[in-house]
Symmetry: C2
Subunit: 411 residues, 2 copies
């Protein structure tokens, strides 16, 4: 008998529709956590979940759950699917949304097929996975897993000076349920790879067995403002130049490390930021990642040592704030094996791999067996409007998710 399959048209249509919600005046997709655009995206998702006949639950950190249960299985721990629908600035339409909409699609398909699961199946959209507006990223799933208190998270001040809790209230997604109320039997997250390994190797499905560690820091360098025309080069305490030295140090070190280490300075600002004044202050962020926990600590230590030298040689003072720190994560062997098996049964090439990005799955892995399914990203491009995955791969990935969840929910 031919295997059950998801409704490709419905899934792809919703992906396109959600991708049009939250466009700014320049047509850029900007759906930052707890913004008006995020509200519009959440409203669309909730409408689809309701239309599918699922129960909608929103918790205090704004995580949205669509739960399919019945009198027979309501007491069992549910199989949970999910990801996020918040985006970066000028984002693509797949990152996160693909996993949430596929989770809903899988439940609707099983429901329509008269499938009777042993346990409930739920789909989750976690708040503020990107962390662009509020740090840390993966916040909603971190709170759900008990790694951050909900009150501390709600008090987070955003890059725009807003408070997350107040913004969730404002957009109507400050729920009443305590985060963590739903303890999953297992968690599976379907996501685009955001790198080009699968595309380069011509493999259509990735069985993600682990995830690299992440270190986020904010560095503030204080020098001395002075006249750009009259201050000899040797007498300057230029915070901007010192910041530039850190940027090149991190890049050169990671580039020559011959390891998977990646280092990124994504945010940068100078003060007073005037053309004819030597910068008195530079504030910037450092994003360090490595699949090996020991190597990640080594990279952090190398940066700390360099900052010490720099402070002395440039006569500047340097302050470091830790914004987020996550150890590498190993996913559940059994679920990874289920993903591999499901792909093979559908005749798809599958590859065990490491996730370079942080995902909600790494948080939920703290409280339940978890794993991820990746599909190819063309050119490895993500966090960019040119982010793309062919429809056939999107549909194939959702069908793997369907097969894996059907098995998990039958246990």
């Amino acid at each position: 008998m031919t295997p059950l399959s998801i409704n490709a048209e419905r899934l792809l249509g919703r992906l396109r529709d959600l991708g049009q919600i939250g466009r700014d005046d320049d047509g850029r997709l900007v759906r930052l956590a707890a913004s008006d655009a995020d509200r519009a995206g959440r409203d669309a998702l909730v409408a689809w979940i309701r239309a599918a006949g699922l129960e909608v639950v929103v918790d205090r950190i704004g995580n949205i759950f669509g739960i399919w249960s019945n009198d027979a299985n309501a007491e069992q721990a549910p199989a949970l699917l999910g990801s996020h629908i918040d985006t970066v600035i000028d984002a693509g339409i797949y990152d996160g949304c693909y996993g949430v909409l596929s989770g809903l699609e899988v439940i609707e398909t099983l429901k329509a097929a008269g499938y009777a699961p042993t346990r409930p199946i739920a789909v989750a959209a976690f708040t503020n996975e990107e962390g662009v507006r509020y740090a840390p990223d993966m916040m909603g799933s971190l709170v759900h897993a008990g790694g951050l208190s909900v009150d501390e998270a709600l008090a987070t001040i955003g890059t725009d000076g807003t408070v997350l809790g107040a913004e969730l209230e404002r957009i109507g997604y400050a729920g009443t349920e305590e985060p963590g109320f739903l303890r999953p039997y297992a968690y599976v997250e379907l996501h685009i790879e955001q790198a080009s390994v699968l595309e380069r190797e011509g493999v259509s499905v990735g069985a993600v067995e682990n995830l690299q560690g992440i270190s986020w820091q904010r560095i503030t360098i204080e020098g001395e403002a002075n006249h750009a025309g009259t201050t000899p080069m040797a007498m300057r305490r230029d915070a901007g130049h010192a910041a530039a030295c850190v940027v090149t140090f991190l890049r050169d070190r990671a580039l020559n490390a011959n390891s998977p280490t990646v280092a990124t300075v994504g945010c940068m600002s100078f003060e007073p930021n005037a053309i004819n004044v030597i910068p008195s202050r530079a504030i910037f962020t450092v994003d360090l990642r490595d699949p090996d926990g020991e190597r990640l600590r080594t990279e952090e230590a190398a940066l700390a040592d360099y900052l010490k030298e720099l402070a002395a040689s440039e006569e500047v003072t340097i302050a470091v704030d830790r914004l987020a720190r996550f150890e590498p994560v190993t996913f559940d062997r059994n679920i990874v094996a289920l993903i591999e098996g499901a792909a093979r049964e559908r005749g798809l090439a599958v590859k065990r791999m490491t996730s370079g990005a942080g995902h909600d799955a790494q948080m939920i892995a703290r409280i339940a067996p978890a794993a991820m399914i990746f599909v190819p990203s063309i050119g490895g491009i993500s966090h960019n409007p040119r982010e793309h995955t062919p429809d056939a791969d999107l549909v194939a990935g959702a069908n793997i998710l369907l097969d894996v969840v059907a098995r998990l929910a039958a246990r």
Copy 2:
């Protein structure tokens, strides 16, 4: 007989008073051109000029003139004194204001002493000398000298998106007089050194005989936004890293040039400016200065060559906008000699020197004999709230200006 001297208390008092006008919520002095704070400073200056019994004239670019003439000398070309009262962000109280208030002080002193000059004596406060809000800097004096059309200048868009002409109208300083209406017989500008040469050598007066050339450019680097966690270092087109390379290139080259060349990157911004996204765009400014015109061109060419290499090696595109360009200026020998002589007569150590900063005097030098008088800046600190010159030096400098102007106006 003891020489005539200025009223030290009145001059120092006005310097302190003007320095309190335009403080922001953090107590920082921020009197950007054509802002509400600038209006308040202009109102105070105009009140002092009127109280001194001088005629107040405001031209179309907002330059303020206080003119002392009589029926006997009204037809003669006036001796002009002046500088500016706009400031940088978080400024000191001396830069510019000292020259304007000393010019007024000198006229009041001569007037009170019953001195009868052969020609009118006027004091000018030129619009937007700092160029922080509107480029180019030294705009008011440039327009006065015919180097920039008043209509082009009034159409300038500010860093805050405002239009200079509209802002001058708003604050009530869009005058009716055509810029350049006053063609001076000679121009003398008294200013703080903004460097530490005089202090280090224990000299109290600088007779400024020339001024270094200035090159301002805005550089925009376009790379590709991508995921900070999944994009291998070797596959990145990081606009932020490329910008950092330019900052270190400029600093290292100027530091090792063994020449007076100075290079500064004062403004910097990344886009999308998100912690987990590789910067797609970096926009920054370059301020290059050198007293030798040929060497300044060499430095500009070296930067242009480096940007070409960088664009190729980093696979980024680089665009350069020229914001301002001024050749080095040589001041009038006779006025410089007058300054030297006046200092010696007062028993003050005097030194011939080069100005590292741009000043309105370099613009007026295009249409009249001009020179500058410098007084020491403690630690060479300027464009900083710690900018300081001892009262005794401030008074001595104003008395030199008094002596020089008395002689010029007697011719």
